[in-house]
C-alpha cells in the first residue's frame, strides 16, 4: 500500500480519514460497537481501541467495555463518524447497568418468541 497524499485522503473512500477518531461500527448481526479506529485494510477489517458495545433495548441502553478489538471486514455494515458536538443518543434514553440491559434483552427476546409461537398456532386459520 503506497502512502496517500492529503488530497487523496480527503477525496477518497478509504478509511484513512477516520483514523484516530471515535467511530460507531454497525455489524451484520445488529451489534453496535464504538471505539477509536487505529488500523484498517482494503477489506474494511478494522482495529478499534477502547471498544465498547452499545446495547439498546427500547429506551434503555448500556455500554459494555470490550477493550482492543479486531473486526473482520465481512461483518461490517457501516462505519459512522460521531459528531462530538451532538448528543450521541436522544435525551429520553436512560443508561442502565449491564445486568439490567441483559434482563431487558431477554424480556424482548421472550416477547418476540411468544409472538412467533402464537402466530404459528393461528396459521391453520389461514386468515390472510
Amino acid at each position: 500500500m503506497s502512502w496517500a497524499s492529503l488530497e487523496d485522503i480527503f477525496l477518497s473512500t478509504s478509511l484513512a480519514s477516520y483514523l484516530d477518531k471515535k467511530l460507531l461500527v454497525l455489524l451484520r448481526d445488529g451489534r453496535k460497537l464504538l471505539g477509536i479506529l487505529r488500523s484498517f485494510d482494503q477489506f474494511a477489517n478494522a482495529v478499534l481501541e477502547g471498544a465498547c458495545e452499545r446495547v439498546i433495548v427500547g429506551d434503555l441502553y448500556c455500554d459494555i467495555p470490550l477493550g482492543l478489538y479486531v473486526i473482520r471486514g465481512e461483518n461490517v455494515v457501516l462505519i459512522g463518524e460521531l459528531d462530538l458536538e451532538r448528543e450521541e443518543l436522544p435525551p429520553h434514553m436512560t443508561r442502565v447497568s449491564a445486568a439490567d440491559i441483559r434482563r431487558a434483552q431477554k424480556a424482548e427476546r421472550d416477547a418476540t418468541d411468544l409472538k412467533g409461537s402464537m402466530r404459528k398456532r393461528m396459521e391453520f386459520l389461514d386468515l390472510d
Binding site: L11, S12, T13, S14, L15, Y18, L24, L26, R28, G30, K32, A44, R54, I56, G73, E74, V76, V77, L78, I79, G80, E81, L82, D83, L84, R86, E87, E88, L89, P90, M93
Partner: protein, 93 residues
C-alpha cells in the same frame, strides 16, 4: 468498472442508500471506490426513531457488500448515456 465510473460522476448528489438490513440513509455522495463502497456526508437516517444510535452520525462509510439499493434523483440520471455505456461494455466485454 461501469457502475464505479457512473457513481464517480454522481459525487456531490443527494442519494438514499438502502442497506440489506433495511436501514435507509440519506446523504451527499462523497466518494465511491472499485468495490462500490460508499462514503456519505451530511447523513440523516430515514426512520430516525427506530435507530437512535445513529443520531450524531454525520459522515459514514458504507461497505459495498451490504448495499441493497442506491436511490437517485431522477434529474441526476442521464439514461441514454448509461444505455450507451452499457452497450459498449457488453460489446467490448
Amino acid at each position: 468498472m461501469l457502475f464505479f465510473s457512473y457513481f464517480k460522476d454522481l459525487v456531490g448528489r443527494e442519494v438514499t442508500v438502502e442497506l440489506k438490513n433495511d436501514l435507509a440513509i440519506r446523504g451527499t455522495l462523497h466518494s465511491v471506490d472499485q468495490y462500490l463502497n460508499i462514503k456519505l456526508e451530511n447523513t440523516r437516517v430515514v426512520d430516525q426513531e427506530k435507530y437512535p444510535h445513529l443520531l450524531s452520525v454525520r459522515n459514514c462509510f458504507i461497505r459495498g457488500s451490504v448495499v441493497r439499493y442506491v436511490q437517485l434523483p431522477p434529474e441526476g440520471v442521464d439514461i441514454e448515456l448509461l444505455h450507451d455505456a452499457t452497450r459498449r461494455e457488453a460489446r467490448d466485454g
